[in-house]
């Protein structure tokens, strides 16, 4: 039960970090975007591992989900950081 409560505390802390990093006006910059996405990715990983119990699953399920989340996070980071180039290329 303790691991569930610790996970909950980590999730709350990471949410607070995201809120702090994303507050205010103006762009977040690559560091801010990276921090917000890293916090989200870590939260998703904690939920998969301890709440969805993927640490019990066999056959690389946890690694597979982790890879998908990382891929999504990297793609989003790239789009948000390189958006002037992407916008120009798609227009």
């Amino acid at each position: 039960m303790a691991i569930l409560t610790r996970t909950w505390m980590v999730l709350m802390l990471l949410t607070a970090v995201s809120m702090w990093a994303g507050h205010g006006s103006g762009g977040l910059g690559p560091l801010g975007v990276g921090l917000v996405l890293a916090a989200a990715n870590l939260k998703a990983d904690r939920i998969l591992t301890h709440y969805l119990d993927l640490h019990r699953a066999e056959g690389g399920w946890r690694a597979g989900f982790r890879s998908l989340l990382t891929l999504l996070g990297v793609a989003l980071f790239g789009i948000y950081v390189l958006y002037p180039m992407i916008g120009a290329a798609l227009r």
């Binding site: 569930l4 999730l11 949410t15 762009g27 939920i47 066999e58 399920w61 992407i86 916008g87 798609l90």
Partner: protein, 200 residues
């Protein structure tokens, strides 16, 4: 607490096998009913594609997206994240209590109540936006905002019903299956909140 592996096979639906367990292959090692994991994978793929679509649409018109996003209440979105995360914790606690033979209903009812609170906060948020004339027709940001958060809110509403069902019909497999759906809803929100409310 001892980590007890749950039964992860189900009896063939047509009953022809008479107690013979269905072989779900690699899905068999996942907790709860494997069909729920197929749903989870599908939902994650659908929301993942929508998140990429949201980011690419913003790249085409960052000024409109950033000005529109500034109209959202980031604090309320963060509070709702904490509400859903706490609800997920209660569901996880309920499953552990069920495994160890203790009562899990108070934790499940608490989780459902927090799910209801999430929807109530979301309704307040929608009411505020609509009251200020920010609707689906305002611009592409608000179209995607209502689409993504509305689709997610429908999952929360469905999740509350599922939690209610598995609280009543509370075999371990049922409880784990309902919990898996709820954690999937939680997982999608922790990704959705920063993308829609924070990133710019």
């Amino acid at each position: 607490m001892t980590e007890t592996a749950a039964p992860t096979t189900v009896v063939a639906a047509d009953g022809a096998a008479d107690g013979e367990a269905a072989d779900w292959g690699p899905l068999s090692s996942l907790p709860g009913n494997p069909m729920m994991w197929i749903l989870i994978l599908g939902e994650l793929a659908a929301f993942g594609a929508m998140f990429i679509g949201f980011a690419v649409t913003r790249a085409l018109d960052p000024a409109t997206f950033d000005a529109s996003q500034a109209q959202l209440d980031r604090l309320l979105g963060g509070v709702n994240t904490m509400v859903l995360v706490t609800s997920g914790w209660l569901v996880a606690v309920a499953v552990r209590r069920r495994v160890s033979g203790r009562s899990h209903r108070v934790a499940m009812l608490g989780a459902m109540a927090l799910g209801g609170l999430f929807l109530a906060i979301k309704a307040v948020e929608y009411g505020d936006k609509i009251g200020r004339g920010l609707t689906l027709e305002t611009n592409s940001f608000f179209q995607l905002y209502y689409l993504l958060t509305g689709f997610h809110a429908m999952h929360v509403a469905a999740g509350i019903v599922i939690l209610g069902i598995v609280t009543w019909w509370d075999s371990l497999e049922n409880l784990e299956t309902g919990a898996a759906f709820w954690h999937m809803v939680d997982l999608i929100w922790v990704l959705l909140y920063p993308i829609v409310y924070l990133l710019r």
